[in-house]
Symmetry: C2
Subunit: 397 residues, 2 copies
């Protein structure tokens, strides 16, 4: 018999995917260059040339049986060593390869981290607005995702609500900063206060509460903004990293789990990830991709376009009278809609060929997300459409 | 708190890995060329040159944002189409891309297939001798692996034992032919009789019983042997394929699930695999690897060395008086040990620098596995050691 729970999931449609499909269909009609598609979060800048050069060199010079051979369960040792060294240097934390586990992107990293520090029935807390894939990521492990309501003033953590929701069943907190969909970056104060609460609650409940950080946007941080490293603030912390956005290679599925060396079970957790892999069929990212990424660890694609786009959009939104927290990073912005129901707002925007994702799907009704990983030239043209949309649909403001 | 079940798994040592480690350490002492390491099943021949050429061409000619962009959840459509066309042509079964789901090798394929057709508490039956990773593969889904005892005469299926063990809780049968560790290939008669029983039992229990076939060795079949395609015999069948062995690229993690088009839920199961992925963090194999493999679907590495090695070893084993079923494919052979306890037999063989894996780990005590994916020249030298081992340790036979 086929498994009904997965079958039922087929009926739940993704708002983002549907909007993207609409944009694609509309593009067939009027030309995709005329569709202002802010629906999807796909990098729009190329991978650094050095990555391509390293791939070519590996293919030309390495003995194929070794190059394409099995990676050890935890990842290729020299790759894990290089990642540890890069993190150690950058964050002044003594990472070694024993705290690094190679994964198929951040999704793979979170799948392992969650299973390592929770059991079915445990609760995992996250903060709205949040990436909606956290629902299946968490709930399909058997643990239960609980969403702390947002703090719309600045989209930092709503600590009062958080303290009401944390309880003895809480196994881990899952955060995402720089954040999809809000673009905000948690401040030092936010992380420090979160760590303080987690320490107190761990002591009160008599078990460690883990802090799992989903960090695909770690490198996309704008001028004057600082993105604090959670491992500098809290011992029982696990970073789930992906190279998808920093290097613009989301299709190559490469990332890692890095457990804080200060966590007393750090090395055990990494070893456990190898066991978890056996159950979920992972067995490491591609060997050649691991080897190539290891040579460009401290590089990024040219990410400056995202800040250029953000400034253009943010300034226009403010000029048009939107309420909007200025993003500190990512390629997302999350303004308040001009009417209570963001779904209706988003529907009206489609008439102007503007694809805006209603915030309901991110646990934050009344807001909408724009993914501005598109050409700056197109951003500029879209602002005219945005102005027309606002002036015609919301004239009395 | 860390998850105790995964932590406990760290205490269970892999016999195969330990033997490989011993071989590596011994190699440091006497030179690895003098260690007759039959422990691991790693391909020993290079990937076809065309794969490397296609990879280079993709890197040189494709626009990087598209080349390294997200693969759709089910895999890149043109890759799925090409695989379907190749299977359709080869097996005269009308596969379309709607029956194909791209995975990270056979391990990933099995992880999805098991979750699609069973729920926790269900039973999955497999046949000894069997690949020991089926234990974590199955048991960590929440289903229960039950092992049908072997039929040592020819290592085809022990149908009497099977019919005693199949029951209302049986959700699926997991087979592996050509087989690791025995090297045998299930005959047409075996598959046809298995299909007949499954149809009768599905009717009796009032639910479909699925046949899941783990087929990484599909292309490694020796002269005069035919490997029947399960989809020609049984409707509710799912093939889990890997390119690891046929193309010699186990580290690149690429394979697929192919559901029989004759299965009434085929398209639903493929769609469900996309949902299952969200829970286990898969999100497709590497994009560039998918695109490259699609160009060499009907090629293989030069697999002839495995048959050469098999014949050398088989003939020597028979000459030395071993009981052994002649392999029909793979790069494994599974003779009966010369004393009751294969672990003691294997331990003695180490004195002759022969690494032989005791059959206990494959659910078949009293036998041992040799993985002959090594240079033929080394195989020849190893036979002298084998003869000495047998003559000195088992002189009275």
């Amino acid at each position: 018999m086929i498994a009904e729970n997965y079958k039922e999931m087929l009926n739940a449609k993704s708002v983002i995917r549907e909007l993207f499909q609409y944009a694609t269909d509309r593009g067939q009609e009027i030309g995709y260059e005329n569709v202002f598609d802010y629906s999807l979060g796909n990098p729009s800048v190329p991978v650094p040339q050095k990555f391509t050069d390293v791939m070519m060199e590996l293919l030309q010079t390495r003995e194929p049986v070794a190059l394409h051979g099995y990676s050890p369960t935890l990842g290729i040792p020299q790759v894990r060593e290089k990642i540890a060294a890069s993190l150690a240097k950058r964050f002044s934390i003594p990472y070694t390869m024993d705290e690094i586990f190679m994964t198929s992107g951040a999704a793979g990293a979170i799948a392992h981290a969650l299973r390592a520090v929770s059991v079915p029935g445990d609760e995992i807390l996250t903060f709205a607005p949040f990436f909606p894939e956290y629902n299946p990521y968490v709930n399909l492990t058997g643990a239960i995702l609980k969403v702390v309501p947002p703090q719309p003033k600045d989209f930092q953590i709503h600590f009062e609500a958080f303290e009401e929701m944390i309880n003895e069943k809480t196994a881990a907190i899952l955060i995402n900063s720089p954040n999809n969909p809000s673009g905000i970056v948690y401040s030092r104060e936010t992380i420090a206060h979160l760590a303080e609460i987690l320490r107190a609650k761990s002591a009160e409940y008599g078990h460690d509460i883990y802090l799992i950080s989903d960090e695909p946007y770690r490198e996309i941080v704008f001028e004057g903004v600082e993105s604090p490293c959670i491992s500098q603030y809290y011992e029982n912390s696990i970073m789930c990293y992906s190279f998808s956005k920093s290097l613009s290679l989301p299709g190559e599925r490469i990332g890692y789990v890095a457990v804080n060396p200060a966590c007393k079970d750090a090395k055990t957790i990494i070893q456990m990830c190898g066991q978890i892999s056996r159950g979920i069929g992972h067995n490491c990212p591609s060997s050649i991709i691991q080897l190539a990424v290891a040579e460009v660890l401290d590089e990024t694609a040219d990410l400056s376009v995202y800040e250029t786009n953000m400034n253009l959009i943010y300034n226009e939104l403010i000029a048009l009278g939107f309420t909007c927290v200025k993003p500190g990073g990512t390629f997302y912005i999350f303004p308040k809609a001009l009417e209570e129901d963001a779904k209706i707002f988003s529907e009206k925007a489609k008439q102007y060929d503007l694809m805006l994702v209603p915030g309901d799907t991110f646990g934050c009704p009344g807001y909408f997300r724009m993914s501005y990983c598109i050409d700056t030239e197109k951003v500029k043209r879209s602002l005219t459409a945005l102005r027309r949309f606002v002036e015609e649909c919301y004239p009395k403001r």
